[in-house]
């Protein structure tokens, strides 16, 4: 199996980005700090989908289901008045999300290709209706999360997510942890099996791999990591509504993965930042005036242009430009 190690060239920009994110709260205004935090949460969400789309080659159009299910689990499991402890709340939320991912994955992975896209979309919509139509969690009005979780040992509070500052760094740590976990997964035997499935599933089966369990494991892991993002989003907003599971959300996260460039973890993070940037740009009333209300129109046109002009995403652009400048007949 062929794989390139680009660690040397990737470490420097990654380190810089990390430092920038770490010092940002001291430099930026409250609005921007908030925006960066949202973007980091979306980055985790995009990273989780990248494991499916980029690494395994499974195009899921229902990934928002796990984002939303985790957010609802957070709100539903939290007690009304006291601060829940992070020590049990987060594992419980992730377990619930993993269970949902296992059930949905077990059905969806019976199909492949274009069926898989439609089936994941349909199941996500089913989850949407469960929260939207039933009295389980406030229906279409959504549900509030009154007290933010804490992590305490005895009387000593280690981590209080009610503090904006603490929560920002907790989010940053979560992003780094998810990134590193996925980097390890991609290098592991399991990750190579997933890459093999993406390249040629038939051949993997012929080589003696039972591909279904691998795909299911990837699906559950991706769903659970999306659950981390959903948990953070719910705690951040203090409010959860069915829109978190809506299919626009699934489309948006897929867009982030593609925008950055498929097949690389960096791409997912870059894509999330680009997406938020584009959205803020198109929603800016200073630039577009009253037309800013229709921000999805320029976004849609941007998507179409991206698909037409840069099929490999932004991360691949430097290499592509380089190739255009120096014509090499047989590269690689």
């Amino acid at each position: 199996m062929k794989h390139r190690h680009r660690t040397d060239s990737a470490v420097a920009p990654l380190g810089l980005a990390l430092v920038a994110l770490a010092v940002f709260p001291f430099l930026g205004g409250q609005f921007y700090v908030d925006l960066v935090q949202t973007t980091m949460i979306l980055s985790i969400f995009a990273l989780s989908l990248e494991l499916l789309v980029g690494t395994t080659g499974l195009v899921s159009f229902g990934h928002a289901a796990f984002f939303g299910i985790a957010a609802y689990a957070t709100a539903l499991l939290s007690p009304q008045a006291d601060a829940p402890s992070l020590a049990w709340l987060l594992p419980a939320v992730l377990a619930a999300t993993a269970l949902a991912a296992a059930v949905i994955g077990a059905f969806s992975l019976r199909t492949r290709g274009v069926y898989f896209i439609m089936v994941t979309l349909a199941f996500a919509q089913m989850a949407y209706y469960v929260f939207h139509d039933t009295k389980l969690a406030g229906g279409s009005d959504g549900i509030y999360l009154y007290v933010k979780p804490v992590l305490a040992i005895g009387n000593f509070t280690l981590l209080d997510l009610a503090s904006a500052h603490t929560f920002y760094y907790a989010t940053l740590c979560a992003l780094v942890a998810v990134y590193m976990l996925l980097a390890l997964v991609k290098r592991s035997r399991f990750g190579h099996a997933l890459a093999g499935i993406r390249a040629n599933e038939q051949r993997m089966r012929a080589a003696g791999y039972s591909t279904y369990p691998y795909k299911l494991a990837a699906f559950v892991l991706a769903g659970t990591l999306a659950g981390v993002a959903g948990f953070l989003q719910a705690v951040k907003d203090g409010f959860v509504n069915p829109e978190m599971l809506a299919w626009h959300q699934s489309g948006a996260v897929l867009l982030m993965v593609i925008l950055g460039g498929i097949g690389s973890l960096r791409g997912a993070v870059v894509g999330a930042f680009l997406f938020v940037l584009l959205k803020e740009l198109f929603q800016s009333e200073a630039l577009f005036g009253g037309f800013a209300r229709h921000w999805q129109l320029p976004l849609g046109l941007t998507i179409i242009a991206c698909v037409a002009l840069m099929p490999n995403g932004v991360v691949a652009m430097p290499a592509r430009l380089r190739r255009m400048r120096t014509p090499v007949p047989h590269a690689g």
Partner: protein
């Protein structure tokens, strides 16, 4: 449930199922023959409904016709629209993977939704049915059934039969069936495959627009109406088997019955039932009930 109520619900189920068939058949045709997964298909339904809303008064004022003139104009417009859309966007997607098809058509949805918002606003609008179809016929002692719904089912049946006749009995249909199974071979035999694709895409768009136009008086027109239909159509296509028109017909009726009777019998979970049906079919036959050959 007494007999009259049961009968009314059956009629409703058939009418909803047939309407779904119009949308889903276009979706399955476009995928089966062009190999393109078209998320924007629900938008065509939405465009149809708004066309009915906009054209009916205009046609009444300027052409002296009513709903049917609007229907006719809408159909002509939709074929032209589909033809141009295929040329401008979809034709780039034939050699791309599903992911890029999903993205581009997702971009198209956003564009269509916003254009709708700019042109027609975000309010819900009612569309009156043509006056001579506005009545209802009595069923049993207390129940009545609106004539317009019967008319809708009638239109759908005629279209379904027409579709069958074209695909099974004409030269064009033969070329379409051949194009679905081996596009290079058909091209080698001298059929203009690009033109064929354009026709199929335009026909798919026209089917969805027609469904939207005839549904408008019953469902009224509102933002996001296309997305709901799109996802249920996906369920229909998955149940029926991609590329199979017959599968789409059986699956839409099945979904129509499950949804309608679910709403009557167990309204608490009705929204979820259709998806449970899909999961059950996936367990039994992952490739759908009628897999296209």
């Amino acid at each position: 449930m007494d007999l009259a109520v049961f009968l009314v619900q059956c009629l409703n189920a058939v009418q909803y199922g047939l309407l779904l068939f119009l949308v889903a058949s276009g979706l399955t045709l476009i995928f089966g023959i062009l190999g393109v997964i078209n998320l924007a298909h629900g938008s065509f339904y939405m465009i149809g409904a708004y066309l009915a809303y906009a054209l009916a008064p205009w046609a009444a004022a300027h052409l002296g016709g009513g709903f049917f003139t609007a229907l006719l104009i809408g159909l002509v417009l939709s074929v032209a629209f589909g033809y141009v859309l295929e040329w401008a966007f979809v034709s780039y997607l034939y050699h791309r993977d599903h992911l890029q098809q999903v993205l581009m058509t997702y971009g198209l949805i956003l564009v269509f939704e916003e254009l709708r918002s700019i042109l027609a606003g975000d309010d819900v609008h009612g569309v009156p049915p043509p006056s001579w179809l506005a009545g209802s016929i009595p069923l049993g002692h207390v129940m009545t059934y609106p004539v317009y719904r019967l008319f809708m089912s009638g239109v759908c049946v005629v279209v379904a039969l027409g579709l069958y006749a074209i695909i099974a009995r004409t030269r064009l249909g033969m070329a379409i069936r051949a194009g679905a199974s081996n596009r290079e071979m058909v091209q080698a035999l001298g059929v203009d495959i690009r033109f064929l694709y354009r026709i199929v895409f335009a026909a798919g768009v026209a089917l969805a627009v027609l469904a939207g136009m005839i549904a408008a008086p019953v469902s009224s027109v509102y933002p996001g109406m296309g997305n709901q239909v799109l996802i249920v159509s996906f369920v229909v296509v998955v149940i029926g088997g991609i590329g199979s028109i017959r599968g789409a017909l059986v699956a839409s009726l099945l979904v129509g019955f499950v949804d309608t009777f679910g709403n009557v019998l167990i309204p608490q979970v009705a929204g979820v039932l259709v998806y449970v049906l899909m999961a059950a079919v996936l367990l039994w036959r992952p490739e759908g009930l009628f897999r296209a050959g």
